[in-house]
Subunit: 212 residues, 2 copies
């Protein structure tokens, strides 16, 4: 099995977005140098990335077919299939993600939210139902769901993650700022807004310091 | 000026979270080996990271003061100050971020939302007002705001980013899947949910393949 680095995997949705823009404009072929200029990656990296998910090379003069590139990347990313996920914790961020239409395009369907708050259980958030977190074991078994989106308060994040893993979760998409320990065989992917903001703030301060 | 890598900057909020948990438990001192075991970084990396933001070294036997570590990191990350930001695009994700209480702790105050939708302008989302995007130039000048949170549809993301930069924005926190080009002197930080999901899905498929 080919090994993909995290950075490389993160680039495919960005390529896809760009190729879809080209497709919408009616562009049929694209060369690596042009992709390099638009996205700021090196030509070598682009060739390597695209070759890794496609069955044919581009032609030196014409470049690669935009339609085929889109097809290759969408297949690779699983956008053509449908993966179901449950969301745990229907607070501000959880409610937004539960109803975020963009996930459908990525082949992800967050079908239900779960919460421990009796005031939320049995209600709906947008178009999605909120179930009792205590029903997670039966629901996960019934639906063969393997991915949970974690949006509970940070203070209970590890406890809820452990519970979900006990129910059979193999992938945890962690939106809490908590550091979560998972056993071997379980995948955790963190979206850490605090870490992202730390980078933005620091880079901004560097720029400001240079101006003065 | 000391140079911090992106990965290093991203680790500070994770350290901070861990040290705050220790503080809440009443732990007064912590050694690098213990931090290493809890967070899964190497001891050398931890020592380097903490030394970069503190004025004193830990004592070999006792370790470092948890209170002092929290103080050092919070100062470094700017959590003690208050940075104001505007949010552009008050759709599902935008509305959630506009009212996300976690940002206050990070020293970020998203004061208002802006939108082009006449049905939203003049209304409130949670506790925040939605202003007309056409008023961005005057509001940015008046409030000396330098950071915008970008949550508009991907199709208009570049256009709105260009407009905000023209109004004086120096930092763009991009939550859209669009690739945004910015001039020198402007900082862009991307929170790309599609890229994060791509990593989760791929790692999960790898694990599943190993099981079979």
């Amino acid at each position: 099995m080919r090994v993909f680095s995290k950075n490389q995997l993160q680039r495919y949705p960005i390529y896809l977005k760009f190729f879809k823009e080209l497709q919408a404009e009616g562009t049929e072929n694209i060369s690596s140098p042009k992709i390099a200029r638009a996205l700021g990656y090196s030509e070598e990296q682009i060739r390597k990335d695209l070759q890794a998910v496609s069955d044919s090379a581009g032609r030196p003069k014409k470049g690669r077919s935009v339609d085929k590139l889109i097809d290759n990347i969408e297949s690779f990313l699983g956008y053509r299939g449908k993966t179901e996920a449950f969301l745990l914790g229907t607070g501000h961020l959880g409610a937004a993600l539960l109803n975020y239409p963009g996930f459908q395009e990525m082949g992800l369907s967050i079908t239900e939210g779960f919460d421990a708050d009796i005031g939320k259980i049995g209600k709906t958030v947008g178009s999605k139902s909120v179930l009792d977190i205590r029903d997670l074991p039966t629901e996960m078994a019934k639906r063969h769901c393997r991915i949970v989106v974690l949006t509970v308060p940070a203070s209970v994040a590890q406890k809820v993650a452990d519970f979900a893993i006990g129910c059979g979760a193999l992938g945890i998409w962690n939106f809490t700022p908590a550091h979560i320990n998972v056993p071997d065989g379980v995948v955790i992917e963190n979206v850490n807004l605090a870490s992202s903001l730390a980078v933005l703030n620091h880079r901004l301060n560097e720029k400001m310091a240079k101006r003065h």
